[in-house]
Symmetry: C2
Amino acid sequence: MKCNKIAVVGLGLIGGSVLKALQGFEDAVFYGIDQNEEVLSEAKSQGLICDAGLHPDEITRIADVTFICLPPDATVTFINEHTFKKNALVTDVSGVKQAIYAGICNTEIDFIGGHPMAGKEVNGFGASDADLFRNASYLLTPTEKNLPEHVALLKKMADYMGCREIVLTTPQEHDMMIAYTSQLMHIVAVVLCDSERLDASKHFSAGSLRDCTRVAKLDSRLWSRLFLLNQEELVRCIDEFSHSLQKMRDLIQSDNEAELKAFLEACSDRKNRFLA
Amino acid sequence: MKCNKIAVVGLGLIGGSVLKALQGFEDAVFYGIDQNEEVLSEAKSQGLICDAGLHPDEITRIADVTFICLPPDATVTFINEHTFKKNALVTDVSGVKQAIYAGICNTEIDFIGGHPMAGKEVNGFGASDADLFRNASYLLTPTEKNLPEHVALLKKMADYMGCREIVLTTPQEHDMMIAYTSQLMHIVAVVLCDSERLDASKHFSAGSLRDCTRVAKLDSRLWSRLFLLNQEELVRCIDEFSHSLQKMRDLIQSDNEAELKAFLEACSDRKNRFLA
């Protein structure tokens, strides 16, 4: 399937990176939509989009493919409140999928949920990077309703962006997996920083503190939404983690060296298998 | 103070790195002690030590400075069971300090506790690296009993190894700080891996999982000892962390978006101040 016109909505870190990473894809023409006109001008002056002066509807009505790179609620709102080219491929990049599907009521489009697993601790178009998705996983949640050629096209685009793995999954499985692989990690990093101990740690720390808390520098509005939109599975994940932590705490408290060592070894082995 | 003979006991990752990083220091002659003769031969063949065939006592009796780079219990045993040059500077590298001081009963030496804050997920002499301590913090716990010229010499050596910060502290403060900055981080990383969810995460994960669990690949025997030797402060640290985690969990569970966002923002701000 030939793709002539690609639109990216929201030229922040992710949207800007999608736009940059897709340059040159099948000789497509690119369009950008953003509330910030300076960002659009900058994208135009960098040759990333063909026109910085179009109204969003002028773009969505002609785009063959539209990437919505907005926070989850804004993603749903944008899709429901705009008119797209009939049966156009529309995709998003948000970190939850069931809530997006539940919110969309625009039936004129062919929507496929997407989630490129990459990010940075800094936001905005200025931080966007054509190589952001290099070697990342790109999760897609197509259903039987989607046009097979659209699924194939999106896989081809993710591949073009440099992704190493393109995983087809369901919105349910996506949210279940992400509760652990991404959301729990962010929660742990944040909670580790909820301590006055951190303030005095500068000269007493090494790589473990740096790495365990790296993602604690986050966009609090976006992440509080993401957590609440995946509440049930996330709370389950936190409870499982708390249970294991309590077990380890009790082994330390009770001086149970043999079981403590066995526990550490089992976890370390599991990490090694993961890395293998 | 001129330092002529430097001995390193235990040529693993840390000991090997100390030996390599100190090469050329004040024209000193280097000696190595290790149970593994192949490692000694290798160190000799690399020109890092002057002789691979000496008995440990032949070395400790003539060394001006001895770095004990063994696990904590072995450090105490080695110091108590060997004869050192009278008033020689002896130092260690272990991750706990109060237990080391409490265990040492050799009164003939001038012992100063040390802890270079650097490591890797791999062990052994083969992984040792002259640059391991570059830009790291080196914690020292001298007391009034130590010869001031020994404290000055050890600071000079840490500086020579490339350390950015040389921090003088007490064994008590060291153990209190390290419970958080290092031990809690390792515990969180390990506990995150105590989940079958990890096994299925390969293609659903990105940088946050990789970084939060990086140090979970650890030496279970060494770390179970380190945890138990700092039991009281570490349990306090885990309990504080659990308390914060529970608070965040309840904010998610109760859909309290305003407070959840404020919590995330406060933690993110604290991380930013730490990075500044």
